[in-house]
Amino acid sequence: MADVSLKNVSKSYGAVKVVHGIDLEIAHDEFVVLVGPSGCGKSTTLRMIAGLEDISGGEIAIGGNVVNDLPPRKRNISMVFQNYALYPHMTVRENLGFGLKIAGRPAAEIEAKTNEAADILGLQPYLDRTPAALSGGQRQRVAMGRAIVRHPDVFLFDEPLSNLDAKLRTQMRVEIKKLHRKVKTTIVYVTHDQVEAMTLADRIVIMKDGHIVQTGTPLDLFERPVNMFVATFIGSPPMNLVDGVIDGGKVRFGDGSTVPTPGDLKARAENGRKVKFGFRAEDLTPVGHGLADTVNAAPIDLTINLAEPLGSETLLLTEIAGAEVQAKMFNPRPIKPGETLPCLLATDRCHLFDAATGKTLR
């Protein structure tokens, strides 16, 4: 039962500043995912919340109490590590109960809570094994069990799924989400995988070079990225970007072709401004193979360089004005490379970014 508040928190190693005064309010029960490329400061931020790293400036509060100078054990948090960090010399049961034992709880209580956690995570059959005798997914579950046993105020996850294979990762992702429903605790989760971020988060915090770039719900970030970095980081495949110049309510590309300026951006798109025209693959579709509700679509003929069938849809690699872009074909039919297809671009869903600053014009 706690919210987490970061005020102007910064971290430096000597002269190198890795986190530049970030502000973040995390509500009670909220599932917040910190996401960004490696080296963006997300893990450092998490470790500062945990108390494993000192903060160089600012203030961190958990449940209203400033914890800047408290050691990890006094913050009532728990953490799941990337490599699980299970105690190799203890059985699963001892691993789960370790925190309670250190806290001096009575044996009966430790037993009960260990069993409760083991039930939630399906660990009953493995309680007397050591971590060495468990599979990757089971170890992951033990690590989560160890975190929930103590009923902490805040869960911290540091890239917990990155050591699992793709199938198990999807499975554990669902389990983590279910776990959050069940235990209703504030969760701060760090990952570099935008899919994990999108699927798990109530709110995503995108970080880059020690700054928060954008904060919002997954759909917010997907639909209204504040700059090109967010636009290309969130969503798969990444957003397509094509160089262009505003020219009388249109965007003129390098080869002279034009598309209409997205309706809601007309006011801010002054003539002659150099822009990056951005759109997602699903907004550029062959005629008859698009999303049903596409309106205000501009026709455009495209020569397909490469087709990647994914089953329910096919990704089409093509070019607009010399820039490589991806289109999507729903209800796909077989495509031959070199085929030219009449396509529709849903211009009202497109984005314009300033070519110099990368910021959205929206």
């Binding site: 050691p71 990890p72 990337q82 490599n83 971590p131 160890r146």
Partner: protein, 281 residues
């Protein structure tokens, strides 16, 4: 060569090698149970005609010919000196090894290299300066004097060995323990120490054996029953014109036995049965 012939050749060469290695030890043990007469007979008597405990009896002061050598005191000195220097060296080694494995500090690399280089100095080269220094401060012929020297000899080694074991333990385990509610001290004793036990046990054995068997320095720094250790005591069997080989061999066996017993007791810890399954796999 057929497979069988090669196997036989390997066995024979192994046997000869082991014979060469073991023969001196075997000879010492055999001689400990024989009389001086039989030991010195030429040609050598390989199969003993009669084994007896007479040599041990005379060392410990029973039986017909009592050897006037205070084996009891030497044994006590050896035990006290070896144990104390081992305990101190392991304690310092653990702290130092942990610091080198976990913390960054200036001069770390140089310090570590320095410790290892100190092992290259032959102990005997230090004996003269040590002798002068110890005689100034009155540590000649005291157990404390020998304990200090042995501790100093062992510390670089125990640091070096335990450092390697602590370095193998992922830092995450300590952090996980701290998040689970441990103080840094508890995290060390509950998590990291149990995992490094094998390394600490090995360093303890090596330190003990080094101290137990050391002769050169002890022969300079000890004088009397106050501090003489068993290896130095061996020289008591050499008189001006005679050497009591039988007594010397019996005493050598007495020196060997505790070391042997200890090694057997601790060896199961030496075989590092711990698998680091707690981290990813």
């Amino acid at each position: 060569m057929s497979r069988r012939a090669r196997d036989i050749a390997i066995w024979i060469s192994t046997f000869i090698t082991m014979l060469i290695i073991c023969l001196p030890g075997l000879w010492v043990v055999l001689s400990a149970f024989r009389s001086n007469g039989e030991i010195l007979t030429r040609p050598a008597v390989w199969i003993p005609e009669g084994l007896s405990l007479d040599n041990f009896r005379s060392i410990f002061g029973f039986g017909a010919n009592v050897v006037a050598i205070p084996v009891g005191s030497y044994f006590a000195n050896s035990l006290i000196i070896s144990m104390t220097s081992t305990v101190v060296a392991v304690a310092i080694g653990m702290a130092g090894g942990y610091a080198f494995a976990r913390y960054h500090f200036s001069g770390k690399a140089a310090g570590f290299l320095g410790f290892m280089l100190s092992r290259t100095v032959p102990g005997i080269a230090l004996s003269l300066p040590l002798f002068i220094l110890w005689s100034w401060i009155g540590l000649i012929d005291t157990r404390l004097g020998v304990i200090l020297v042995y501790t100093a000899i062992n510390v670089p080694f125990t640091i070096w060995l335990t450092e390697g074991f602590f370095r193998q333990i992922p830092r995450d385990l300590n952090e996980a323990a701290q998040i689970d509610g441990c103080t840094p001290w508890q995290a060390f004793w509950r998590v990291e120490f149990p995992l490094a036990k094998a390394g600490i046990a090995s360093s303890a054995i090596f330190a003990f054996l080094t101290s137990w068997n050391e002769y050169a320095l002890a022969s300079q720094l000890t004088r009397s029953t106050d501090s003489k250790t068993l290896p130095v005591g061996l020289m008591d069997f050499t008189a001006q014109f005679t050497i009591d080989w039988a007594g010397m061999c019996a005493m050598a066996v007495i020196i060997i036995i505790p070391a042997l017993v200890l090694t057997f007791l601790v060896q199961k810890h030496l075989i590092s049965g711990l698998t680091f399954g707690g981290v990813k796999g």
